[in-house]
């Protein structure tokens, strides 16, 4: 495989033969790209060839160098900070700023969308590219052209709508419309579906295929291999800053196991660690839980939800984004969200009332957020201070902190959860996503919880770190704790949970034991609920 790949690249190195490649209509060639950061070889001699009009996927584990490569291409790392050559449309390019690459029709859409929430869709589409006549913005042209672009991407919204009023899925489409507004030829999408539900993801992928028909070439970076199999013509696998291979849909096997093997360099036998369920008595029961939206008082985000979890059990909450799962968890967690209209909570059979987060913590309930940087961790503060934060009483006497004890606690967690850091004094903001997640889990383990809500515990972390988080979850239930996991990754839910609740629009529409659950069953439950509604 490697030989074949290598052979394909040799022509690029001699000038006379480069003509052949051009004949094959290579839109983009990145040749021997090497990018060094002090002490790290982020990319070493990476090669990438993208043909005109194809969808080219780049896959690799977190940190393999995918984003770095795209940043080199788009000029975020300007010419001169890397070695190697970029040929675009047959000519060598030396991009110094993003604008240079955009002039050539290369547009990158980052995972974190670059939209301004309080500006309209139209203003956002032409941000930095304003429709103007001699410095004055032509609002008619702005909105007219924006509407045209929105129709192209199949978004049925007025371009005067504010960005904050549309969902993430639609925002993603606005980003693409924005790219189209810049006459894009090569569209780079970095994890475009990371925060989308299955339906929106599918829409987006179909749009990419649609654009392909109109001659727009795409490079897509994604973790979701099923999507890649669906959309990509070619797949380049990067590992540890090296191009491992390029698979061609037409000639190669591009099944998921095949891709994963390339990514991790070995066969992944099991994505989920084995566990013998040892289920005990009921730990937490929620009855008729109804929660009102904090701003829109006529909206019920959770409606008559009842569920329970037993000791030693992992219960999953499946559903589309916006089904009310996070809202259910956070409103139970000391009413951190919305207004609870009715409902009862029983802990070990006893009714409890949780009016504040600190009460919830006292009752042994922990909520591990889906947004670890947003409301989980204090980034400019050390690991040890983060771990103790939710239960400082355990490392203090009468308001005075015992910092040595605090540090030892942190070291203990560092060893138990193998958080990779030279020191527990390290600022959490300096850790990788997977390690941050482990710090977050440590923080809540330190509160001695009996019930843990884990909200998207593996979002945005790589395969290896995911496996470690799963192991930690198994250890938690093995020690008699109860876990409620919220996840948009159905495979994860199926792989980890003993029981699964399915939520749709604030209601629990079904409950499935592990043995009966399947991806199809859950999706069909959601679909029939959406038809019934």
């Amino acid at each position: 495989m490697f030989d074949r790949f290598h052979a394909r690249l040799i022509p690029c190195q001699s000038k006379s033969e480069r003509g052949d490649v051009l004949l094959a209509k290579s839109l983009l060639e990145m040749i021997d790209i090497t990018k060094l950061f002090p002490g790290v070889r982020a990319l070493s001699n990476v090669n990438l060839t993208v043909e005109e009009g194809e969808v080219h996927a780049i896959v690799g584990e977190n940190g393999a160098g995918k984003s770095t490569l795209m940043n080199v291409l788009s000029g975020i790392y300007p010419f001169g900070t890397y070695e190697g050559q970029i040929l675009y449309d047959g000519e060598e390019c030396r991009f110094r700023v993003i604008r240079d690459s955009e002039k050539k029709g290369i547009v990158i859409i980052h995972q974190e969308l670059a939209l301004v929430p309080y500006l309209s869709i139209g203003e956002n589409i032409f941000l930095g590219n304003e429709q103007h006549t001699t410095g004055f913005i032509d609002w008619d042209a702005t909105y007219h052209n924006a509407d045209k672009l929105l129709r192209k991407v199949g978004l049925n919204e007025s371009s005067r709508t504010l960005i904050k009023d549309i969902g993430v899925g639609k925002q993603q489409l606005v980003e693409i419309a924005k790219a189209l507004g810049k006459n894009v030829r090569l569209l780079i999408l970095d994890e475009p579906t990371a925060s989308l539900n299955d339906v929106d993801s599918r829409k987006l992928l179909d749009l990419i295929l649609d654009l392909k028909k109109n001659g727009i070439t795409s490079i897509i970076i994604s973790h979701k291999l099923d999507e890649i199999s669906y959309v990509a013509d070619k797949i380049t696998i990067i590992r540890d800053g090296l191009t491992i291979e390029t698979l061609d849909k037409a000639t190669d096997d591009i099944s998921e196991p095949r891709i994963v093997r390339g990514m991790v360099g070995r066969e992944m036998v099991d994505r989920f660690p084995k566990r013998e369920p040892n289920i005990g008595s009921e730990c937490l029961r929620i009855e008729d839980w109804t929660v009102r939206h904090p701003l829109f008082t006529d909206r019920l985000v959770v409606q008559d939800a009842s569920l329970n979890v037993r000791r030693g059990e992992i219960v999953g909450l499946a559903g589309l984004m916006g089904a009310g799962r996070t809202e259910l968890a956070t409103s139970v967690f000391g009413r951190a969200y919305g207004t609870v209209l009715k409902g009862r909570i029983f802990k070990d059979g006893q009714p409890i009332i949780l009016t504040s987060i600190s009460k919830a913590i006292q009752h042994g309930i922990a909520y591990i957020t889906e947004d670890r940087k947003g409301d989980g961790l204090v980034l400019p503060v050390s690991i040890s201070e983060n771990i103790s934060l939710a239960k400082l009483s355990k490392v203090s006497k009468k308001y005075f902190l015992d910092k040595d004890l605090e540090k030892n606690v942190a070291k203990d967690y560092r060893d138990r959860l193998s958080i990779k850091t030279p020191s527990v004094n390290q600022l959490v903001g300096n850790l990788s996503g997977g390690n941050q997640q482990k710090v977050l889990v440590s923080k809540w383990m330190f509160t001695d919880p009996e019930v843990l809500f884990l909200d998207e515990p593996t979002r945005g972390i790589d395969v290896g770190a995911k496996y470690e988080i799963y192991c930690i979850m198994n250890d938690l239930v093995a020690s008699g704790k109860a876990v409620i996991m919220i996840s948009s990754d159905l495979q994860e839910i199926l792989g980890m949970c003993d029981r699964i609740y399915v939520m749709y629009e604030g209601k629990i529409i079904g409950e499935l034991p592990r043995a009966e659950a399947s991806q199809e069953k859950i999706m069909s439950m959601i679909l029939s609920a959406s038809k019934g509604a």
Partner: protein, 430 residues
């Protein structure tokens, strides 16, 4: 291989710039880079570097002292002037300590402190001069007024949700106006002697040795303080070792402790050469100690840093963030009350224009002292250095005959450069 995975994982996880820092650390076998606090295994060179970097403002302070020392022919450093410096800047330092707590909560500032200083002074004048009330009850009432103003701000900011900038801007107007009303636009003077002595005199020498031009009490207190300091530091270290915690590098510890103790003794000796310890220094030391302990060693202190570092995460950790915010502002005006009394004794009058722009000096001291304008970062010791820096700049420029206008330009530039330097050095080290 595994390590490399991790390093690369960090590239994606935290952005490349930060990776460089982490990477550097891993390469050096976990020895910590310059800006990291040192821990398990550290080399002396790195400790020195990190110490220098952590104390860059202290070094700047020393440099400025040396420059002014030369250009004023040493006048700025004579014991009499050092004593003066303390009188002149004690109230700014007290305000700056209070301001630090506000800034820690998220870069929030209190614009009303100058007016509060004035209003508390006005109350002091009204009570002691006009109504001839005894000193102690008057002081208590004045402090209570300060606290009340703080509670007022705290309610608006923490519980109603008015942005601190606006709430305290309103406070600035309200309390300035109130001072004018209390004083009827007039200046009241002079204060009773016992009140004046509280913050303008020196602690008398109880053990005067005839023929020796040295305040023995002052020196004795300094030595005592140094001994207490040593005892606390060393017993803390022994406890640490006994409990089996990593005690940190021994050399660094002893040098650090020894130098600090020597500074305490030296300052007390220097002051003893003049008239002894200024009484206001006692107030200042008490305030500084209380707040240094509060911010670095207690649970509420930790809450301040957590709130400033990430308010949402703090809330989701069960911290009553409103209460923390309320406390920071209630406390700020209380300390403004303390500063108001100190300043009133210094002026020996209650004046409706007193305290103008004090908030700016306090805020500048915090930022020069390394507090982050985004909150969550800053220490009492840093703020003290910042206040000293401002005070020495003022004093030195006065000696050198700078006009007020020129002084303002210089101070403004210093603030800008200090924060600019801080921002740049942080960016580089990432």
């Amino acid at each position: 291989m595994k390590d490399k995975d991790e390093i690369q994982g960090m590239i994606n996880g935290t952005g490349v710039e930060e990776t460089i820092r982490v990477q550097g650390m891993l390469n050096e076998n976990g020895s910590g880079s310059a800006i990291q606090q040192q821990e398990d295994n550290t080399s002396i060179m790195q400790v020195v570097l990190s110490t220098l970097k952590k104390n860059s403002m202290l070094i700047a302070l020393i440099v400025v002292l040396i420059i002014f020392g030369f250009s004023t022919g040493g006048t700025i450093l004579v014991p009499r002037n050092v004593s003066n410096l303390i009188f002149q800047n004690a109230y700014v330092a007290i305000l700056a300590v209070g301001m630090l707590l506000c800034i820690l909560t998220g870069g929030n500032i209190d614009l009303s402190v100058g007016s509060t200083v004035c209003l508390v002074g006005a109350f002091a004048g009204e009570l002691m001069i006009v109504r001839k009330m005894p000193v102690l009850p008057s002081i208590l009432i004045c402090l209570f007024v300060g606290l009340l103003i703080g509670v007022w701000h705290g309610i608006w900011i923490a519980y109603i949700g008015v942005p601190p900038f606006i709430a305290t801007l309103a406070g600035q107007l309200i309390f300035r106006g109130s001072s004018l009303i209390v004083l009827n636009g007039l200046t009241l003077a002079p204060f009773p002697d016992e009140f004046q002595r509280l913050a303008t005199g020196h602690i008398p020498d109880f053990f005067k040795i005839d023929g020796l031009d040295l305040n023995v009490t002052c020196l004795g207190l300094g030595v005592l303080a140094a001994l207490v300091f040593l005892a606390i530091r060393i017993s803390g270290r022994i406890r640490k070792i006994r409990k089996g915690y990593a005690p940190g590098g021994a050399i660094y510890f002893y040098i650090n402790t020894g130098v600090l103790a020597a500074i305490i003794v030296f300052v007390s000796f220097w002051l003893a050469l003049y008239e002894g310890m200024p009484t206001v220094m006692v107030t200042l030391i008490i305030v500084v100690l209380i707040y240094a302990i509060l911010t670095s060693m207690t649970v509420p202190g930790r809450y301040l840093y957590a709130l400033g570092g990430n308010p949402k995460a703090a809330r989701m950790s069960g911290i009553d963030t409103k209460k923390v915010m309320f406390f920071a502002y209630a406390n700020m005006s209380f300390l403004a009350g303390v500063a108001g009394l100190v300043f009133a004794t210094r002026l020996n009058s209650a004046n409706p224009t007193a305290g103008q722009n004090f908030e700016l000096d306090a805020i500048a001291s915090c930022f020069i002292g390394g507090a982050s304008a985004y909150g969550g970062i800053g220490t009492v010791s840093g703020v003290l250095i910042g206040a000293a820096f401002m005070g020495i700049m003022n004093n030195g420029m006065n000696f050198m005959g700078f006009q007020t206008a020129a002084q303002q330009v210089v101070k403004g530039m210093v603030l800008l450069l200090a924060v600019g330097f801080d921002v740049l050095s942080k960016r580089k080290s990432r």
